[in-house]
Amino acid sequence: MKRPSSEVLSLMHNNSLLEKEAWSRKDLFDQGYKKIAVIDDCPKTTSLIRTYLREMTMSEILTFNDEFDALRSIASERPDLILLDIQLQFIDGRKLSHILKEINCDQTPIIFMSLDHRLLRNSQYSLQKPLKKDGLQKYLEQVLSETRYHGRTSTKAS
């Protein structure tokens, strides 16, 4: 059998590493480890969500009260799920969701939140405020169970 060239061996090695990293992340995802980002300009809301989600095992909660902080961090953190308030201080939540989609979150489910149910129309995922503990936890579990691992490593590699 002919030995592969050094270029091919190098490529195989790199692919193997990428595959290994992808698998380890996927394993974590499959085992329940989820990274959830919460963007709301009201600290009382982010504190509440962080507290209620603390009970959900194997989840890392990232909270942002500033849209720009969120944009800076989310591109590198690549959460598995985003909770996003529609009425933010500086940027409309819908517009922010479009920007998030462009920075490697195109397959990340976004749950829109608002006190006004009319603003939640046409949203694939939405939660009406005021949030309740049971409703929040159950809904997130439901959305996360429908969410597939979307291969952050391959996105990063490209």
Binding site: L48, T51, P130, K132
Partner: protein, 102 residues
């Protein structure tokens, strides 16, 4: 006026003090907006308060702020002043329950 004691979910014990302090600050800002008859700012702040009051178990706060929001939308100054007076009493009640007995 008699308000019902506020029952807070024990899971929120770690963050309730922050909520109360924040609510007192919101009240001061709201009072300022009402005194200036800045209806737009009153509506915005009411909306913000209503987003969490019930979640933390502050049902009376939610009810009073809804009345203030309605008066601001309709721009009825006497109603705003009347509801602000009730809110002031309720904030004193909140302080008594959470800060003085704290």
């Amino acid at each position: 006026m008699n308000f019902k004691p506020i029952l807070v979910d024990p899971d929120l014990n770690d963050i309730i003090d922050g909520f109360v302090q924040n609510t007192i600050e919101d009240y001061k800002t709201l009072r300022n907006h009402i005194e200036k008859r800045d209806y737009n700012q009153v509506r915005k702040l009411c909306h913000r308060i209503l987003g969490t009051a019930i979640s933390y178990g502050f049902n009376d706060l939610d009810t009073i702020v809804k009345l203030i929001q309605k008066a601001a939308v309709e721009e009825i100054a006497p109603d705003l002043d009347q509801h602000l007076a009730i809110l002031t009493s309720h904030i004193d009640f909140i302080k008594e329950q959470f800060l003085l007995n704290g």
